[in-house]
Amino acid sequence: MSPSLPPIRPEDEAAAEKLRPHGAFDPTGIEPDIAVRRDLLLRLGDDALVLGQRLGEWCGHGPALEVDISLANLALDLVGQATLLLNEAGDGDRLAFHRDVLDFRNCLLVEQPNGDFAQTMARHLLYTTWQHMVLQRLRESADRFVREFAHKAVKEVTYHRELAAEWTIRLGDGTEESARRMTEGLDWNWRFVPELFEVDESMQAAIDRGLAPDPRDFEDEYRAAIAAVIEEAQLAQPEDQRAILGGRRGHHSEHLGHLLAVMQFLPRTYPDATW
């Protein structure tokens, strides 16, 4: 008969080794590792959750039936990613529905309002192009969950990135009105791009531990990829604006609170509700 206990993995042994010389109330040395990993999971998970909720707002309001279904599919992909990430960070439902706005770690870009369809597609292009580049690199993460997550999600996000580029090109290179709306959509979201490449203390710790890539390593690649789409869309490159930062530290725009009010209303009002 085989032993009923699971095998002890090398990473478990390493964790136990670090804990050994400490008492229960001493700093353990492992806590920073857990905190850094959790923060990374929350950043990626909150990005996916908030952007998924935003796209879900289109449901029933899409400019065409086919586009409505398409946007709902994108939203469901993102909510699925958020479920995996937040459940790895803790209790996913509690994190999604019982946290206040200051505790959310998403970037400011994903919480920006939908505006019109062009503004939504501009936001989706700018975010998913970045997300795609991150996920490609997270497949090499030192963390097994993160690696496996990235392998699954990168296929979904490849589609998101391509679809957003297709629409940017069609609207930009479409009618006078569609080009104007696409330009305005890109302008609205442009000031939130620098935050994607910000490396704060927590991010640096994740990079140092091999959990996550340094986004600055692919900023040029990102800028070139976006510029290529905008050029194919026959639009002018957006002017750089004063960068707005702070989402990763919980300093959000007013838009996130309104989004959470809608998203969290039901489980907060009826905490025992099941469906």
Partner: protein
């Protein structure tokens, strides 16, 4: 908006070895987006491994008024069905 877009007929291959089957139609401004709309509308539940889209305007259809002369003559010709052969039990999928 979708009223301005041409209609495309969608065909899905459920798995390798099977033929593409007609499943419905989508509106889209061009072929590339028609494929993406078809993917999002008709393959959300793992229905397929391959997609075709064809402009609906390019489909040449038979005239329902000619159904009599086109199809009824086949009704009385049961000898065209291979029902007079004994199939060995070992032969599957026929």
């Amino acid at each position: 908006m979708s009223g301005d877009w041409p209609l495309w007929e969608v065909f899905v291959r459920a798995k390798g070895g099977l033929s593409h089957r007609h499943v419905g139609s989508v509106h889209a401004p061009d072929a590339e987006l028609a494929l993406r709309h078809a993917r999002d509308t008709y393959t959300r539940r793992l229905e397929g491994v391959s997609l075709w889209v064809v402009p609906s305007a390019e489909i040449v259809a038979s005239d329902p008024d000619e159904a009599g002369e086109l199809f009824e003559p086949a009704e009385s010709k049961i000898y065209r069905h291979p029902t007079f052969y004994d199939i060995p039990d070992e032969v599957k999928h026929i």
